[in-house]
Symmetry: none
Subunit: 127 residues, 4 copies
DNA sequence: GTGGTCTAGACCACA
DNA sequence: GTGGTCTAGACCACG
């Protein structure tokens, strides 16, 4: 039997991913306060317990810290930021390379195809 | 309001994607018979109509052809195969570039990071 | 055994044909909104899914475009219009020639008969 | 309300049409015996009464004649044959011209388009 | 058996 | 409201 559909990564991790990306993009700055558990639960249409678990996860990853009575904040740690960015980058690259290998491409071809694509879109924007 | 989760690509397209990848990988050869609509429906835990729609989609894309009373087959057309492979490649690259841009990387940095990653893993395999 | 009767062209295609003819005749102008799926289903005494399929077909043919939440529209593309008209013409001619051949006429005779008919009706109108 | 689908010409007339075409094509010769009502009913998947009505219609049109105790035969009348052929031809041409006019073509253009089509298919067969 | 069509009815996403 | 997707289940046509 083939696998089913309906992507299965737990919601609390999907939410953590999203917040991580917001940090790396700069939509969330170091030191910023995250929405309260309840706010975030409403915004994201999930259960507050799920958000709670996401925030715990972010703490465990060293990305956020909760301050009793004040809320949860992005840690003010440049090293964390750099590392987070590197991690996301690495994960994306790993996945990309894995899939391209699956499509039968060699390392060299992957780089060539990427370069060609970037040149193509660059030219389009030059028009 | 933030977007919700799992706003999934329609099942019939996910299934088409999966079949396309099987063809490009060589798990399905040109001329191979796909599972019957009913078989595939059971394998994939979806309704036969959904599979029907997938097969119709594959036919519209020129990837498969249905022979009434016999089944649905991968078209024996090398040109199709080449094009399909190119399309999947392009889509993966587009998505990769999109995400990397979202992480704040410039075109140049994307290429550098990829090259670095490939060198690193290459050295590991050389060990 | 002789063939049965009324082995009809699928309803969703008959409906597409009808709409195409309305466009070519000018009953539907480029950019016009088609009746909503539900309206058309009632007007035509068919299931909404059947209309949906018709509209999907028209979209695949490049004749219509669906705008989620707004409706389905005749594409505003003169090239499409010209091509559609040519296609309908060709199909009618093919069918006509096929039937006339079946009645035992040669290509030359078909043209002669048509010319005679047109002259006859022209004279009638001159009266 | 738009018209419904499911073509409505009565079966007994559809069957008469079919027989007429067989005569004009020469599949049925003058003087040939038509299948018995029962045979034809089985062949055509219709009720014997329907066939009976078809044969009556063919008699009324002067195309067939029933001989008590022997069956129904194509009338041995060359004039009838010529006229029948002319009628079918005329009907097809009328319909064709009607539709082409509906597509916006002038008499002259109809002839030109037909000639072009015949030349095109002729060349293909010359290949 | 196969794929193809159609219906009925549900729910979702967009706006 | 709109179109889009999915399910359930029926029936047909081809071979």
């Amino acid at each position: 039997m083939t696998e089913s559909f309906a992507s299965t990564r737990p919601i609390y991790l999907q939410l953590a991913d999203r917040i991580n990306r917001q940090i790396v993009r700069g939509d969330l700055k170091l030191g910023d306060k995250l929405p309260s558990v309840r706010e975030m639960a409403i915004e994201s249409n999930v259960n507050p317990n799920t958000v709670q678990r996401t925030y715990r996860e972010l703490e465990a990853m060293g990305v956020a810290e909760s301050r009793r009575g004040q809320g949860t904040f992005v840690r003010e740690d440049v090293h964390m930021f750099t590392e987070l960015k590197e991690n996301l980058k690495r994960e994306e690259i790993e996945e990309f390379v894995r899939v391209m290998h699956e499509l039968g491409l060699q390392d060299q071809e992957i780089q060539t195809s990427l370069a060609a694509f970037l040149n193509r879109t660059k030219e389009e924007n030059d028009d």
